[in-house]
Symmetry: C2
Subunit: 430 residues, 2 copies
């Protein structure tokens, strides 16, 4: 190992050690103290708006000079609106119920002891993210509220903005008599820092990667620390033959077109053959009006031809389309015989993220709910609802496609664990 | 890779594939069906007692010929009593509440959708264990009840017993119209089978290793599949200066001497210096009468000398003793100034498994409960209570020292996960 790699590993290990020490203090912090820090942070962000924007301006200019595209620059920029919404986010987290210390139920046992589970912080959370500087604030505030210490590893493009924001967070922690080291930003932009973070299970309890698929894939593959992540959102809506046609059209429209680039956007529409002739004409019109390209199966093509519907944006699907996450105005459309074929398709091609059925038939709705093995399963609602805010979590650190620990939208509770607590009065085991 | 390794990898992958397919059927199984299978299994074990004991006899003879020690032979032997307790275990699991399909609370959200969490099976559980053939039944029945498929990898010494038991389980599954492939025993005793299992995250959702520390360490290090495990049980009892002396003596006795070889046995006793002269005379007498060797710190040695207590079994502790898991009649004893020194010692030397305080002071009891970062924290009760049955879980698949997913004693719930379920009536996101 070169001296430089060794130095970075050493530096990250020291950051990890400080985080672990700070996490012990954070675990003891009162709700009042944590909310005090969050309130102070909201005020600091408001007060430092111009300093923040000039640091951000430096990042944006560097990104422009490096030839980054408009979408990238947009994500990087801390506009007035972006700063306002960051501040509001902090206040929302301050207003959330504090889960730490809650004991679910103390149940007396035959031995005479009472046993319950107390919710406690996970410890140290590592956040690895890319260009959006607002993640620095969003992630750190959730981790603070859940009583954790945090190590932030932002993208090199946002380093000036992130440094300033991390400084404000540390000031706010100190103002509440909490350890400033409870939130640390990795100062180096060297990629080796990520490799070092994901191999420190002794200091970091969980890693949350946020960003592009290749970053997340690499982290999931190499991490020795548990990872909360999702890779793909290949989401389905199944329009059952017992669907209300009006609801079917509205939901299939919204699930695809409300936003194209999100992980809970529908990528494949499954239509029961029995209602295809009823739903296709209004739906195809909506999609074509919005410029959505359709990749259709043979049977759907036949139905469309019989209905006299052809258009350059209607193309024939290939086998790859059933496994595609377009994140774009493109939709795969497949005709199925019934709910069984729909569920088999979802099982084979879905990413276990979010899937919905539209039906008025109660038994089929309940079968879909029970049998589809996805993190979020919806009846008569748009897949776009699969989101921490819409699910009532109050905030979201990310979404998990995995089954272990946290699944689907992850809020405060996903940043906690529990311990067993026992109240005795001198009992011994016999 | 040699042909033989390749063949084993291929064989395990096929077992994994069949398990995954069976897990879909198991997830849909009704409580009645699962209980039917368990009832049938209990009857089959009773009915096949002599066949079982002759298969087991073959294992025992092989182990004897191989020179295995008496403790090993004891674990391997299916005595009448062992078979009775296996049958009772199956009936107990059948009687447990079925967690699958339970929805915690459907909460209406501002958008009009209602959102809840449904408890669902994890999918496929891999159990890797050593000589005890009863694990075949204990683990499989818990996995069946939780709606999972199971891949069992028992020790080569118990292979004849395990084959017969696995056959009975498959018969019982078929009798309940459940897929026999929902419980598969790995037929080969080749060690490569373990390596193959722990690198199949596409088919196996979680691995539960049960056995010696070196086996578990290896699996934890190399597994690409999440592991539910514990390595060490370095458990503490802290006798506070506000302890009831009688309770302190009773608990410190029981936590060490009720069983020496279990993971929740106390390994280090921490005594507040203020009460050392009161608790040491009765405790030392108990320990010495039971043949427990004491490894004492300097301060404890001074107190003992002042009390005129010396004995060949009382030895001076070395630095290693504070990190030792003896699993034997040996106890480290340390004097501490107060609860803070006790908690600092536990933080530095404990294994985050199980720790207890004995005190009548409410504030100190609550501090210990909140601040000690262990899977089980007890007030005025023996560490020996940290156990699935004593905690009211009805059964136990293992104990976890980790913080992710399951912590402490793991029962049925640790073999499940949840999915988000949404009931809508046509809602779309705006």
């Amino acid at each position: 190992m070169s001296t430089s790699l060794h130095n970075i590993d050493q530096q990250i290990a020291e950051i990890g050690q400080r985080a672990k020490a700070a996490s012990r203090e954070m675990a003891k912090a009162s709700t009042r103290q944590k909310n005090h820090a969050l309130g102070a942070l909201a005020e600091l962000i408001k007060g430092q708006r111009s300093a923040l924007q000039s640091a951000n301006q430096a990042d944006v200019e560097r990104a422009r000079a490096a030839g980054c595209d408009a979408a990238f620059i947009d994500r990087l920029t801390l506009s007035d609106q972006a700063i306002d919404s960051m501040t509001e986010g902090v206040q929302q987290v301050a207003a959330l119920f504090d889960p730490i210390g809650e004991i679910d139920a103390m149940r007396p046992q035959p031995s005479g002891i009472s046993v319950g589970k107390m919710r406690v912080p996970l410890g140290v959370i590592g956040i690895i993210y890319e260009s959006r500087p607002n993640v620095t604030i969003d992630a750190a505030t959730l981790c603070i509220k859940a009583g954790n210490a945090t190590i932030l590893r932002g993208g090199s493009e946002a380093i000036e903005s992130n440094r300033l924001l991390a400084g404000l967070i540390q000031q706010a922690l100190s103002a509440a008599a909490l350890p400033a080291q409870a939130v640390q930003l990795i100062p180096t932009t060297d990629r080796q820092a990520v490799s070092a973070m994901i191999t420190l299970p002794q200091y970091i309890d969980v890693i949350v990667p946020r960003g592009g698929k290749s970053l997340i894939e690499r982290i999931a593959k190499e991490s020795r620390v548990p990872v909360i992540k999702h890779l793909d959102g290949i989401c389905h809506v199944y329009l059952d033959d017992d669907a209300d046609i009006e609801k079917a059209v509205r939901i299939a429209d919204n699930a695809k077109t409300q936003r194209y680039g999100t992980c809970n956007t529908m990528e494949t529409l499954l239509i029961s053959q029995a209602i295809a002739h009823q739903v296709l004409p209004p739906l195809v019109k909506i999609y074509l009006d919005k410029g959505v390209e359709l990749r259709v199966c043979d049977q759907t093509r036949k139905t469309l031809s019989a209905l006299g519907l052809t258009h350059p944006l209607i193309k024939d699907a290939t086998a790859e389309d059933w496994d595609a996450e377009y994140l774009a105005p493109i939709l795969a459309v497949k005709s199925v015989a019934d709910i069984d074929e729909a569920m088999t398709h979802i099982d084979l091609h879905g990413s276990r993220h979010t899937d919905a059925i539209v039906t008025e038939n109660h038994s089929k709705a309940m079968r879909f709910l029970r049998e589809v093995d996805s993190a979020s399963v919806l009846i008569n609602a748009s897949t776009r609802f699969a989101d921490g805010f819409e699910f009532g979590l109050g905030a979201e650190i990310g979404i998990s496609n995995d089954k272990i620990h946290a699944r689907g939208p992850v809020g405060l509770e996903g940043l906690t664990t529990y311990k067993w607590v026992v109240l005795g009065s001198g009992q011994i085991r016999t």
